[in-house]
Symmetry: D2
Subunit: 297 residues, 4 copies
C-alpha cells in the first residue's frame, strides 16, 4: 500500500487538467485553452525573448521533465498532512505543463536509518530507500516538502537528506557527482516559525551534493507567533487558514516556475556543463587552472 | 583609498595570467599555452559535448562575464585577511578565463547600517553602499567571502546581506526581482568550525533575493576543533596552514567553474527565463496556472 | 547624546512603578500595593516553597540585581524600534521588582567592528565598546533584543556578539571565563519568520562564552508568512499588532522571571560554582577527573 | 537486547572508579584517594567559597544526581559509535562523583516517529519512547550526544527532540512545564564541520522546553575541513584521532562539571523557582506584573 502518493493523473483529476501519458499533449492544449486567464500570458509572451530565442509554445513545453516531491511530514497516511496541500499547489502547476510528477510520503515507507545506499547490507532487515532512490534518480526536479517542529526540519527531512548524501561517492558519466544537472526546491509549512531556517538547511544540503538551486526556491506558510491552526485548516467561519496568503501563493508559484525553467535549461544542455567540476578528472590530477595561494608571495 | 582590492590586472600579475582589457584574448591564449598541465584538458575536452554542442574554445570563453567578490572580513586594509587568500584562488581561476573580476573589502568602506538602498536619505551622513551597489549590479557572479566568528557569519557579512536585501522592491526590465539572472557563491574561512552553517545562510539569502545557485557553491577552510592557526598562516616548519588541503582546493575550484558555467548559461539566455516569476505580472493579476488548494475538495 | 536609552527611573515613569536609587524599596512596596492584581499572587504565594525555603518577600526581592538590555535594531534613535516595545515589557517587569535596569541601542553608538576589546588599539579612531562593556560587566542579566532580517539576526546583533566574544581571554577572580555567573536572554521581533533561528544563535553564543541560560529564555513576535505590519504597529481599526498575542506576552513574562530567578540564584551563590571549570586551573595542569578515552581499552 | 548502554557500574569498571549503589560512598572515597592528581584540587579547594559556603566534600557530593546520555548516532549496536567515546569521557567524570549515569543509543530502540507521547495510540504498532521517557523524567541532567551529517544534527537527534517536545502540554506539580529544574547539555562529533551549528539547535531546543543551560554546555570534536578520520580512530602510527585535543578535552570536562553544578543548585532548591513561570497560573489569569506595551502612550 502506498497511500498519500498522487500520480500525475490523479493530480490532473484534482485540478481538472491534463492526464499523464499519451493524452497529455492534447489534453494540455485543451486545458490551456480552457483557462483563459492563464493563457493570456502565453499568447502575450509569444514575442518575448526566451532562452535567447523568440518565446514560443515549444519553449514553455516542459513535458519531457520529471519532478519528484518527497513529503517529509511525521504523519503517516492516511493521516492528514498540511504540507501536502502546498505540494498539491506546486505539483498541479507542473502537471498542467505536462511534467511527469511523482511523489511519496517518506514516513509511509520503511526507510532505514543510516548513511549507506542500502542499509540491508548493514544489518537492517528492511530498507525502502534503494527503490525510492530510483525515483530520485529519475527526476530532474526534487522538491523536499516538510513540516517545522520546534523551528527546525523534521526527523524525516533529515533522514531523507542523510540517504541522499549516502550516494556521495557515485558519479555520473561525466565524472561529476550524481546530482549534477538536477534542480532542487523546498516547501515548508508550520504553525508559527521557521520556514527560512528549514529551507536554508534543505537548499544548502541539496546544492552541496550537486543540485542547482533556482531563484526563490523556498516557499511555505506559517502563522503568527505561538500555537495556532495549520495551513489549510478550516476555521469556524468556514475559511481555510493560509490558503489565501498572497505571499505563500506567489512564492510557491514562482518557485515552481523557476524550478521548471532551470531544469529545462540544464536538461537541454545535457546536464550541468562538465569542465572544472569532475571528481574523476580532479582525482586523476587535473587542476583546472587552480593555483595554490602559497605561490602568491 | 581603497586598499585590499585587486583589479583583474593585478590578479593577472599575481598569478601570471592575462590582463583585462584589450590584450585579454591574446594574453589569455598565451597564458593557456604556457600552462601545459591545465591546457591538456582544454585540448582533450575539445570534442566533449558542452551546452548541447561540441565543446570548443568558444564555449569555454567566459570573457564577457563579470564577477564581484565581497570580502566581509572584520579586518580593515592593510590588515591581513585570511579569507582573501581563498578569494585569490577563486578569482585567479576566473581571471585566467578572461572574466572581469572586481572585488572589495566591505569593512574598508563606510557602509551605513540599515535596510534602505541609500541610508543618506535616512539620516546617515555617509553611505558607501550606493556606489558599491553599482558594482553588484554590474556583476553576473557575486561571491560573498567571509570569516567565521563564534560559528556564524561576521557582522560585515550580515550588513552586506541586509543592504542587498534593501533593494527588494526593485525589478529588472522583465518584471523579475533585480537579482534574477545572476549567480551567487560563498567562500568561508575560520579556525575551527562553521563553513556549512555560514555558507548555508549566505547561499540561502542569495537565492531568496533572486540569485541562482550552482552545484557545490560553498567552499572554505577550517582547522580541527579548538583555537588554532588560520588559513594560510606560516608555521614554524615553513609550511602554510590549509593551502594544501585537498578538499578546500577541490571545492574552491569546482565552485568557481560552476559559477562560471551557470552564469554563462543564464547570460546566454538573456537572463533567467521570464514566465511565472514576474512580480509585475503577478501584481497585475496573472496567476500562471496557480490554483488555490481550497478548490480541491 | 544617548537617545533611545531608558533609565530605570524613566521606565518606572512609563509604567508607573518605583524609581531606582534610595527610594526604590519604599516605592516598590507602594507600587506593589497599588497593583492589586499583581500583588494577589505575592500574597497567595507567601506559603509556597521557594528556593527550598518558605516563599517570603525577601525571596522575591531582586533589588540587588542589575540587568542590561541591548537593542540591536538597525534603526538609530530617535527612529522607531519595534523591538523596543518588547524590551519595555520585559524591562518594566524587572523594574517593578526593583532591578536596576540599564539599556542601550547599539546602532546609536560608534561601536567599532572587530574582535579586540578596544579597537582604538587596532587602528580605529573611535570605539564606544570599551565604555559600553563596563555596563555589560556590571549586569547580572544580559538580554540581547533584536530584529529579524531575511530570517537571521541583524548585523548589529552580530557585532555585539563579536565584541562580547573579544573578551574571551579574560577570566574572573575564580579563574573562570568572565561571563560565568551571569544570565543571558533574548527578545526577537520581525514581520514574519525567524524568532527561533535568531534566538538559537544568540543564546548559543551567550552560553558558549559563559552565560547561563534559564528555561524558555527566548521570546518574541512575528506575524504570518509574508511582509506585513510589525510588532506594535497601529492598524486602521486602532488595534495594535501583536501586543495582545497571548504566546508573546506569556513567553516574555516567563523569560523575564526565569532570568531573575537564575540570576538571583547565581548571585546568592557568589557566582557560578568554581570547580572543574576554571581555565586557570586547567592550564596549570589540573584535570578534574577527566580521563582520556584512549585509556579505555 | 540493549547493547551499547552502560550502567554506572560498567562505567566504573571501565574507568576504575566507584560502583553505583550501596558501596558508592565508600568506594568513591577510595577512588578519590587513589587518584592523587585529581584529589589535589579537592583538598586545595577545601577552603574555597562554594555555593556561598565554605567548600567541603559535601558540596562536591553529587551522589544524589541522575544523568542520562542519549547517543543519537545513526549506527546501531554493536556497531562503533565515535560519539560514544566522548560520552564515556563525560559520563565517567560524573560516575566518579557518584552520579547515577544512565544512557541509551536511540537507534537501537524502535522509537516511533511523531509528535505524541505514545505513538501506539496513533497507529504505530511499536513505540519504545514511553519507556525511554521514564528515564528522561528520572534524570536531573540530559545530554544529547550526536554525530554531524552534512553539517547538521542527525535524524535520530531530531527524532529525540520531537519526542521530548511532544510532552509540551504536561506540567510539573508547580504548574511549570515538565522539564523545569532539569539541566541540558550537548556533545557532538563529526569529521569536519558543524559542532556549533548542531549544539546550537540541541541547546536551543532544550531550553525552549524548559531545561536550564549551564555555561559552555557544548563540547565536541571535528577535524580539519574535508573528509577524514573520526574521533578516536586509530591511525597507522598508532595514535588516536582527536583524543588528545586540548580544546575538546577541556570543553568536555568543563561542560560536565557545569552540568553538575547547575543541576545540584536546582536540585537543592527543589526545582526551578516557581513564580512568574507557571503555565497553570497564567492560564488562570495571573499576569506576574506583565503590562501590555499598548498602555505605554
Amino acid at each position: 500500500m502506498d497511500t498519500g502518493e498522487y500520480t500525475t493523473a490523479a493530480l490532473a483529476d484534482l485540478f481538472g487538467v491534463a492526464r499523464s501519458g499519451a493524452h497529455r499533449a492534447v489534453e494540455r492544449e485543451r486545458a490551456l485553452k480552457a483557462t483563459t486567464a492563464s493563457t493570456r500570458h502565453h499568447e502575450a509572451g509569444a514575442t518575448e525573448t526566451y532562452y535567447g530565442h523568440k518565446m514560443t509554445d515549444a519553449n514553455l513545453d516542459f513535458a519531457n521533465l520529471k519532478a519528484l516531491f518527497i513529503n517529509t511530514t511525521l504523519t503517516r497516511s492516511p493521516g492528514h498532512s498540511h504540507t501536502q496541500l502546498l505540494v498539491d499547489v506546486s505539483a498541479s502547476i507542473m502537471a498542467k505543463q505536462g511534467v511527469a510528477v511523482d511523489q511519496f510520503r517518506a514516513v509511509d515507507h520503511p526507510i532505514a536509518t543510516g548513511i549507506y545506499p542500502d542499509m540491508r547490507e548493514h544489518g537492517w532487515a528492511d530498507d525502502a530507500w534503494p527503490d525510492l532512490f530510483k525515483r530520485v534518480r529519475a527526476a530532474d526536479i526534487l522538491v523536499i516538502a516538510g513540516p517545522i517542529w520546534l523551528g527546525d526540519n523534521s526527523s524525516e527531512t533529515k533522514k531523507i537528506i542523510e540517504r541522499l548524501y549516502a550516494h556521495s561517492s557515485e558519479l555520473n558519466d561525466k565524472g561529476q557527482w550524481l546530482y549534477y544537472g538536477k534542480v532542487g526546491g523546498c516547501l515548508i509549512t508550520g504553525n508559527e516559525d521557521g520556514i527560512k531556517h528549514c529551507a536554508s538547511n534543505v537548499l544548502y544540503s541539496l546544492q552541496h551534493i550537486g543540485y542547482s538551486v533556482a531563484p526563490q526556491s523556498d516557499a511555505g506558510w506559517i502563522g503568527e507567533a505561538g500555537p495556532g491552526p495549520s495551513y489549510g485548516d478550516v476555521l469556524e467561519d468556514g475559511t481555510r487558514v493560509g490558503v489565501d496568503n498572497e505571499f505563500t501563493n506567489r512564492n510557491t508559484t514562482f518557485m515552481t516556475w523557476n524550478l521548471l525553467h532551470l531544469a529545462k535549461m540544464l536538461n537541454s544542455a545535457g546536464g550541468f556543463p562538465a569542465h572544472g567540476n569532475q571528481r574523476s578528472e580532479w582525482d586523476a590530477g587535473q587542476r583546472f587552472d587552480f593555483q595554490n595561494p602559497e605561490y602568491r608571495s
